[in-house]
Symmetry: D2
Subunit: 341 residues, 4 copies
Amino acid sequence: MRIGVLTSGGDCPGLNAVIRSVVHRAVVDHGDEVIGFHDGWKGLLECDYRKLDLDAVGGILARGGTILGSSRVQPAHLRDGVERARGHVAELGLDAIIPIGGEGTLKAAHLLSEAGLPIVGVPKTIDNDIASTDVTFGFDTAVGVATEALDRLKTTAESHQRVLIVEVMGRHTGWIALHSGMAAGAHAIVVPERPFDMDELTELVGRRFSAGKRFAIVVVAEGAKPRAGSMEFDEGGKDVYGHERFAGVARQLSTELEERLGKEARPVILGHVQRGGTPTAYDRVLATRFGWHAVEAAHRDEFGMLTALRGTDIVMVPLGEAVETLKTVPAERYAEAECVL
Amino acid sequence: MRIGVLTSGGDCPGLNAVIRSVVHRAVVDHGDEVIGFHDGWKGLLECDYRKLDLDAVGGILARGGTILGSSRVQPAHLRDGVERARGHVAELGLDAIIPIGGEGTLKAAHLLSEAGLPIVGVPKTIDNDIASTDVTFGFDTAVGVATEALDRLKTTAESHQRVLIVEVMGRHTGWIALHSGMAAGAHAIVVPERPFDMDELTELVGRRFSAGKRFAIVVVAEGAKPRAGSMEFDEGGKDVYGHERFAGVARQLSTELEERLGKEARPVILGHVQRGGTPTAYDRVLATRFGWHAVEAAHRDEFGMLTALRGTDIVMVPLGEAVETLKTVPAERYAEAECVL
Amino acid sequence: MRIGVLTSGGDCPGLNAVIRSVVHRAVVDHGDEVIGFHDGWKGLLECDYRKLDLDAVGGILARGGTILGSSRVQPAHLRDGVERARGHVAELGLDAIIPIGGEGTLKAAHLLSEAGLPIVGVPKTIDNDIASTDVTFGFDTAVGVATEALDRLKTTAESHQRVLIVEVMGRHTGWIALHSGMAAGAHAIVVPERPFDMDELTELVGRRFSAGKRFAIVVVAEGAKPRAGSMEFDEGGKDVYGHERFAGVARQLSTELEERLGKEARPVILGHVQRGGTPTAYDRVLATRFGWHAVEAAHRDEFGMLTALRGTDIVMVPLGEAVETLKTVPAERYAEAECVL
Amino acid sequence: MRIGVLTSGGDCPGLNAVIRSVVHRAVVDHGDEVIGFHDGWKGLLECDYRKLDLDAVGGILARGGTILGSSRVQPAHLRDGVERARGHVAELGLDAIIPIGGEGTLKAAHLLSEAGLPIVGVPKTIDNDIASTDVTFGFDTAVGVATEALDRLKTTAESHQRVLIVEVMGRHTGWIALHSGMAAGAHAIVVPERPFDMDELTELVGRRFSAGKRFAIVVVAEGAKPRAGSMEFDEGGKDVYGHERFAGVARQLSTELEERLGKEARPVILGHVQRGGTPTAYDRVLATRFGWHAVEAAHRDEFGMLTALRGTDIVMVPLGEAVETLKTVPAERYAEAECVL
């Protein structure tokens, strides 16, 4: 068999572990050939690739990033490129393509699969918001990094007698905020799924100070927003330099809380550090299993499918199903975190 | 409601997170009272306890060990003590008892439950061998510690051109060996579920050297044994000082491999470091959820049950079911690790 | 002997280790009594303190923050309070006061010492800018945290093909930037001691891309500024919400580099995470030695002095000397980092 | 200039950082050529080497081990090989050789230097026992690994109510034991420099239990021995399998303490994990500075010298001086650790 693999979208710890696993399983156990496309779908469209043998994937299991490079997918661009992709697949004699990526990548994968290309997808997102799998690799590492930061920030908040508003990743879903907030014992967790009421949040944090505590930690997902009318909120959030990326909920929340509570409040934005570097053991195992099972699915001619974790099993799920809805934090899970906003 | 909590058996990262969660949920949300028995079942039998309020569990979420102390359960001792336990429960006006522990503890919990005491168990073992739950807290931390050690040992094995035989915990099951071995890219993984054939193991490791590699890492669970007749093996494994604990499979395997391969081999025994210290974010979240749901079960009068993880949900499972069989590494999972012994 | 100890100024990993060491040495070895003032100099001025025995310092060696609390010193306030402080020292029968703090604290300590109070100072700053000691505790932890973040950011920068501008602490000196930048292999390091020329920096980073590299990491100390005229620079740096703390060199540099290079550039501001949490082993040893030697100095009546590391020895240095100048990064050390700006 | 570099002796975190630094400084800043000999002195004697350019040292700064391989030096073998080495140096047109290694390597380097070869040594040992430098790289990492293990073991010792005897590296000197023991708050530290009296050690640990504590941690350097006559001690220390490496002071001490105290005692042997893996930021900076200054020394024709840290400066020290004596733990440093044995 001849298999092409590619990584697409944002950085995510475990990408290299999937690549390595695909190569190990395919080359060693099945005697397949594997090639890796450079920079995501771009590599497929431009027929830019290299051969991946055992040496090529030596020592990458624990390394962050992706040895194949990545790029953000432009769906329109890809739609126009279906025939080009088909041509390259034929030309290279590929029997299977394994794209590893997030929501955008999987939509693209579904498109190509519908067009008849032999695709087995592997889901990837630190945000953990893909509905068809219990967990995605990268999430555990992101939560671990955020939790370690929160552990450190706690002693500082305490000694400075401050409220720290810590912004973690999560544009559409609050999984990282929920898990890191629970793991670090945050005093409030704010997620996009549930617009926060500024009065309630103020009261919640204020109650801590009334009870004699000297600090508070609020974890907020970058995509969280206040309930309409509960505070003035700059949605566009551009800063004085015109960069959209610098404004954000943590900063606005911090200003508002400081004014309302009369306590020093400071925002901390964890940023990219959550998505890079060595994956945790958990993510390496999950990524390795995904790679292994993607190769098996290809050998069983199960195309148009996605690897997914269900309980302790890896199962195959139709690509179309996987991209339908985002997996959001359900009310029960939010309730467990004991923060009533 | 009045709830008693206790921790029993070996150390396990996450115990304090459960205790804290029980207190938070019960005291803050339900207005319950919580007491903690000292040193496991001993505390219940001797009516040795203290009150647990919010202050008592402040700052313990990320701390290893257990603030309540622990002791190994003596089933016979406990059987004789059922009436004494019942008396103390009545005397203290307890509506629920939440024991947190491993197989032995849960068997004891089942016994007391059968005798009519209001028990909600929380499973605990770094070994991950309790059948009724997908995962137990403590396991992720143990795997993380072992993986980090393996990551470090790899560079040393390479620079010394050696075979390192790394013994990890797991008397009856190979979960820690399997996951840490997969996560670190071990070249062979040896588990108790599958007696190893010394000839095959030698050949597997030898093949690496034939292929020009200069080192190898073998991960072996402490309870692993050779296939009968495949090598001489000292099961009793006492050392010259008469300590049973020092012998072990890694040392014997190391001697044997060195002789057979003509390569330097060294055993490394990771030991207790796997079961102590700060839990990972994963374990803190799981432990916190178990504590939360144990309190909820008590409030629903669901006694004789055990908290369990199934997929992403916490469910309640009958205690009797939970202690029937050990969860061993199935053949499919072992196959994924790509080590054919 | 009766000793009072206090911690003042910003959070710094190792504060608790000093407190513990003072108590261990004084109480166990000398049979002294130790009290701890709450919230820095405020505690001394308001006679707010508690007794510190062995139990009080149990388990704090590895914990970040300070069990005594801290506050920023107001020199004017303290100057007015000299007589009050003297009164409390007499009233409490104190033979020695050990303030642990940074530049401001040490200036205050010098003032009180000049006024005749029996002071032995312990220097504390994550910035490492106190001239009389080779190193201050807290610095190694801050560098470690920044380096780990840089290690993680590298893979992300690479996979996103970006320039990342990482802002680390250091208002007046570039020690954290220099050491973390060297440790992580940053491609440019920008320090306050050496205003950067924007043309040179652009060329330096640009050369990397010309040479075929796909990303670059620039580490910049928060206090760094461009050479006059080399770029427009908003020194005040207030943001749209009027907060001085959010603007900063990294953001401005990022915007400028992106425009000049035509490559995506992103700022990452590590922030408070650098000054909190568990100290490294290095910082715990240094902090413990400082505490030990401060007690010894008190017992030798060596007041008006400061503990300092010189080579591998702890020596005592006059407080007046210690606060004269800031220790800046010398040209030779900057040259070693191989970044010609 | 043409420079040869080699790494010799046991694994040590920071070796790759030195190699990288030599290449960066020599190739980029001086326009030199650098070659790396394989497997230590063996590579020089057998003229087995490869060219080292910037690409060859890409991404190795934070990686443990050595990309050049290593081997233990056989001094006699090297003595016979002086002429062969001289021949290869001439043949390859080398202007300088930079061996990176421990005591044995530096003795060999001194020998070759005396024979007229242009040598600049770089000291390397996790044991920190080279007298001419304040610190050697690798030591900080080893202490960090040991401290993290001790942190974890503490909670386990406490929950199991045990004495743990933790054996760390240090055959001739107790630096790792001293620093990790201080950093983790061990209750006794046993070093080779000071044979321990078993009665005193028993009393010291026993006093803790008398004072109501439930556990104790003893850190012991692998080379520590009891005072003559204070207990039976098997110096040879072979185990039942005839391996010298498995016996050891921790195990014997554990047996003895358990008997004398009547408390459960267990040995934990940290082993190779202390010498592998990612170096700390401290070690990466020190290693980088050593490499930089070694190249500078070569360009100044300062041969027969060794890089050394004195305070915050890197200085050059005659090789002959460096190998005269071992740097042992002085009484004052031991006294600071507050363990009176």
